[in-house]
Symmetry: C2
């Protein structure tokens, strides 16, 4: 059992999650405004687009324009998402993004079938193909990504062993191509995680694959996002995906209430109050969160952007006491 | 440090919190419909009204009619709230409620000033008066209630010592009137708590006042409600106040984003998934949560009522697999 980290890394995924999920067309300039706003908050890794088929995901049809248009700030890694060769090539061609590969596997076969129309057996040669594609393009692969790591709307509970085996397979695939994995992302794609499950799975992965740094990708569909992140922190997890204002949702989750990723500013607030460094300025991030609501044109689930930070309140109180 | 309890007690406060907070007039019959719906869920303690000045809280003007009208189910304690002698007499006169007293103190003097226009010094003789009032009316007093136990929008952080001293004072007051306290409710009235603070304060209270059973009353203004409840569970806390669908908010909190209590069905969901018994049927409670939204006429913050339970999903999956 690890102790709570003194510092964490937050991977902001709000722009990509949000633009991909929202039904209304968001003008390219508004997308860029949100990305530029996030660049001012201290976040050092921001996922801004996905290079996917515009017919399948119309909200991402302007991915290239977004990538060309945003104001690139030094010290920040801007990243994109892709699902195939074509998408990877678009990411490389953009020349403004950091391009790193992953061995991305689903821990649930029914989810894979639903999402990509592939069996576990179909997935394997495809993974090798993807690895060769990375090699050919000089893209480094250091990360395993495990989808549906906590449970699946089509398969039910996912056993700890299934996840451990999936990670072992990812290491094997990477190894066959001369790569050594350093990180594993455990994605609660369909919001089956609860704090106890986070502790159980993270503990098992730490025991079985101690060389891998764990990142948690937590969806908030059942309101457990922040509690799950806290359970992760208690297990020593130091890397979290998050989405400003709670933007997003999973288009493949198969039910209406699918909520976005754990809300970045709520996570930063919790860390601030626990003395965990995030490098992010909460007040500035709340400005971005309110902008995100404006950009999508409807309320988003974040709480702290409405409730306000305690730091600001403490300052107000001490100013009033000094007066 | 205690271990996670195998069973918890949930005190449902949604009707009282909600009817008191909502600005639009809710017809008495609709209030009763929500209470009657909650009576079918397995909840065994439901706070349904507050007996307050109808000029100050118009939404509670029909408290007596609500109390007369609801369908009282055996095995359930229906309770009310009052702030003074007049309110207590109304509660007793209603004859349909369980009436128990509390030594209710604020850990923050500025909050007390704002909320009741009293200093700590003013509060003390008043507490003795209240105790005499309870005695005269044959009302048992076994509980201390500590408001603003985690922090205050007007005083800032509240020290652990201030809370421990407040509890000691409550015990002293009760003792002078021949009563022995058994319970203490720690109220995060203005949503300053974070999981680490919950652990710190609960641990200190367990050490200093080990004979008192702790109840947590957690507001969700900054999205920490469920994470705070989880931290409480990890400390062995076995009693929680909660509000169906996340109804309510604190009219005295002094800012716009003040959210209601931690959401009952989200708490029940977390407990179900952790194997902690609540006695509550989650599916039935989600029906009540959706009714609560209908009754107030706008969306409420609960997540599981939208995301759905995992138990239902598991059943659907196993039915599909069997077919």
């Amino acid at each position: 059992m690890s102790s709570i980290p003194s510092k964490i890394q937050i991977n902001e995924e709000g722009p990509r999650e949000g633009f991909q999920f929202e039904k209304a067309v968001i003008p390219t300039a508004r997308k860029i405004a949100l990305i530029d706003s996030l660049s001012e908050t201290g976040l050092n890794r921001i996922q801004i687009v996905s290079f996917v088929n515009p017919k399948a995901v119309p909200g991402m049809a302007d991915a290239e324009e977004v990538v060309e248009g945003f104001n690139k700030k030094p010290g920040i890694s801007y990243v994109g998402l892709w699902l195939n060769d074509k998408g990877l090539k678009r990411a490389i061609q953009s020349q403004r993004l950091e391009v790193k590969g992953s061995v991305s596997l689903s821990a649930s076969e029914p989810f894979l079938m639903r999402n990509q129309k592939r069996t576990f057996a179909d997935q394997l040669p495809l993974q090798h193909e993807t690895m060769r594609m990375y090699k050919e393009n000089g893209v480094k692969v250091e990360r395993a990504a495990v989808m549906a790591a906590f449970g699946c709307n089509f398969a039910g509970d996912i056993s700890t062993d299934a996840v451990l085996d999936t990670i072992a397979l990812a290491k094997e695939i990477a190894g066959e191509h001369g790569e050594t994995l350093k990180n594993v992302m455990l994605a609660d794609t369909m919001a089956w995680a609860t704090p106890a499950a986070v502790k159980r799975l993270v503990g098992a992965v730490q025991d079985k694959h101690p060389e891998l740094n764990i990142c948690l990708h937590l969806h908030d569909t059942r309101g457990m996002g922040i509690a799950n992140a806290y359970a992760g922190l208690e297990m020593g997890v130091n890397t979290f995906d998050a989405a400003v204002a709670g933007l997003g949702g999973c288009p493949f989750a198969g039910h209406a209430g699918a909520a976005g990723n754990v809300c970045t500013e709520d996570l930063v607030f919790m860390c601030d109050e626990m003395g965990i460094e995030t490098g992010v300025d909460l007040e500035k991030l709340m400005v971005s969160a309110r902008l995100a609501e404006e950009v999508v044109g409807h309320p988003l689930p974040g709480s702290v952007m409405r409730g306000g930070s305690l730091r600001a309140l403490r300052q107000k109180i001490s100013t009033a006491q000094a007066a």
